[in-house]
């Protein structure tokens, strides 16, 4: 039972890091990163390969993977930052699918669909793993909170709500976007490493667009831009959804693939219901806490409006 609980919490913590990453990219900056899982995959594979193939120490591999993921994020955003939302989403998604295609096919490097087994953890015990993951989450959270309160964070929100105005008052639009997207990439790199350590085995099927969808669900539930909200939403959602995995044995009338499908249906349903009935989420963005927000943009709908009007 304790091991169930520990793994549940670890998964929730990793999801929290992913959620924070999307929160800074999309929640704060408005960059629709549908290819989230591709960057996460880059982090996980970089970490796993550096350790198992090149024999690097885990901490070296972690640092290197974070750098790699950040750089990859920056490069992808470089080519797509000028695009509108729809195109940005499509290009990032295409990038992620390409990563998956490469991992699947370049067997000399990634072992393809066989996957990479035997990834050693820096702290072998389950509790050690959890604490390690929590340390990562805390680091990302604190860093992002600081960024939110910095001029960069304010620029980001101004850009998301009204790019034209932000540009006319002389903000460096592309630079700010690039930095924040890359920062999200850093968090995704950390999450990828944690993923590799936690599962100790990775293969391409673990990474798919469901990851992107659940990350969006976490951020919407949290309230766009609210880092604290993401912590809370990742904990509740992961416990609710992953928790059902442990009930699988207790529900004999569905086959495993049906239960997996049901879980994904649940994610899709939750996403849509949230968008229709609770688009502003449950958390508050930093600036709303301080009551100087401006009610613009769709996501800032009723909650923000009633504070301002």
């Amino acid at each position: 039972m304790t091991s169930y609980l520990l793994s549940l919490l670890t998964i929730a913590v990793i999801a929290g890091v992913v959620g924070l990453a999307l929160n800074i990219q999309w929640g704060m900056t408005g960059l629709v990163n549908f290819g989230l899982f591709g960057f996460y995959m880059v982090g996980a594979y970089a970490c796993a390969l550096l350790i198992t193939q090149l024999g690097w120490a885990p901490w070296q591999a972690v640092l290197a993977s974070i750098v790699i993921t950040t750089v990859v994020c920056a490069l992808v955003s470089l080519i797509s930052l000028r695009l509108e939302d729809d195109y940005f989403a499509i290009v990032t998604l295409a990038f992620a699918e390409s990563v998956k295609l490469i991992v699947n096919n370049e067997e000399w490097l990634t072992r393809g669909s066989i996957g990479i087994p035997g990834i050693p953890r820096p702290f072998p015990s389950d509790i050690g793993m959890l604490l390690f993951a929590m340390a990562g989450l805390a680091l990302v959270f604190l860093a992002f909170e600081t960024v939110s309160r910095s001029p960069l964070g304010r620029t980001a929100r101004a850009l998301r709500d009204d790019p034209l105005v932000a540009e006319t008052v002389g903000k460096n639009v592309l630079g700010a976007r690039l930095r924040l997207f890359a920062l999200g990439g850093t968090a995704l790199g950390i999450a990828g490493c944690l993923h590799a350590f936690y599962y100790q085995y990775i293969d391409p099927t673990q990474f798919n667009v469901a990851m992107t969808a659940s990350a969006f669900m976490l951020v919407i539930l949290a309230g766009r831009g609210s880092h604290r909200g993401v912590l809370l939403s990742s904990l509740t959602v992961v416990v609710l959804i992953e928790g059902t995995r442990f009930l699988d044995d207790a529900i004999p009338w569905f086959a495993p693939h049906q239960l997996a499908a049901l879980r994904l249906i649940l994610i899709g349903l939750a996403l849509i219901l949230l968008l229709i009935y609770k688009p502003e989420g449950f958390g508050r963005e930093y600036r709303y806490l301080h009551g100087r927000g401006r009610a613009t943009g769709r996501a800032a709908a009723p909650a923000a409006r009633c504070r301002w009007d």
Partner: protein, 286 residues
């Protein structure tokens, strides 16, 4: 060389249908419908149910299945997109991803992950002028060409098509000219559902169908639509053909499993160099 051209043409035609569906919904509703892949899958399985489970002839199953898929798309609009009508494109996009999950996994829940095939007799490929031609390829070409022709006529020549273009161009003005937006939107979704189901069936004829199949075609469809220029729906057709031929041609220098990636690279390059699309003349907004 001719073989590559021909295969590329067939692939392009198969992608053209969902690409056109994406471009149509984009022009009328202003958002990229990420559920297109799941709509392909759902359509293919609807036809499969009629054809294999109920034992109807493939032609009948195809027509009835496409009609059902059209109705399904209209129902999705009613349940999901109508309550979100005036929200931002990003909201609609994320919602369409939710729809994609629900549809794909309902299929998976009912039909399982195992690939299945339609009830068709196997036939030997024809050889003509040095080309190897499958019966399925010819069927795909004919059906696609017919479907595209019908959509072209509707879009360019009919009252519904003018209404669609009017809404794409200037929705408030269209409303004051008596064009009822909801009806046009419903019609657009029905067309989109039918196109997706047709392509799903044709893809299934050539190979097998499984719950993942649509997803594999979704991104090429987007790439083709973007290649044509999203604001000019019909340009998605040449966009898809160009992409089909180029990705087949790429197999001369690249391993064949990287075919899809050619589409992505092409799309990214195009977005950087010519955001209006390869064939898109400038969309007039001023």
């Amino acid at each position: 060389m001719m073989q590559i051209l021909f295969n590329g043409l067939v692939t392009g035609m198969l992608v053209a249908l969902p690409a056109l569906a994406v471009a149509l919904t984009f022009s009328v509703l202003r958002f990229a419908n990420f559920a297109i892949g799941a709509m392909i899958t759902a359509g293919a399985y609807l036809v499969y149910t009629l054809n294999v489970v109920l034992g109807l002839p493939l032609l009948v199953s195809g027509i009835v299945g496409a009609a059902l898929a059209g109705a399904l798309a209209a129902a999705i609009d009613l349940l999901v997109f109508r309550p979100l009508r005036d929200r931002s494109a990003v909201t609609l996009m994320v919602a369409s991803m939710g729809v994609s999950f629900i549809l794909e996994n309902i299929v998976r829940f009912i039909a399982g992950n195992t690939p299945v095939g339609y009830d068709v007799a196997l036939s030997r490929p024809w050889r003509w002028a040095g080309l190897r031609i499958n019966v399925e390829q010819v069927q795909a070409l004919v059906v696609c060409a017919l479907a595209l022709l019908v959509v072209w006529i509707i879009f360019r020549r009919s009252r519904l098509g003018r209404a669609m273009r009017a809404i794409a161009d200037n929705a408030p003005l269209a409303a004051t000219r008596g064009v009822s937006r909801q009806r046009v939107i419903t019609a657009t979704w029905v067309m989109s559902g039918v196109l997706a189901a047709l392509s799903g069936t044709l893809i299934g004829l050539d190979a097998t169908i499984d719950p993942q199949m649509g997803w594999l075609y979704a991104l090429p469809a987007f790439a083709a639509a973007i290649l044509g220029g999203l604001t000019h729906p019909l340009a998605a057709i040449p966009g898809a053909l160009v992409m089909g031929v180029l990705s087949e041609a790429a197999t001369l220098v690249l391993p064949s499993h990287y075919r899809i990636m050619v589409a992505f690279v092409l799309m990214s390059l195009l977005l950087i160099l010519r955001p209006a699309g390869l064939f898109g003349t400038r969309w007039l907004t001023r």
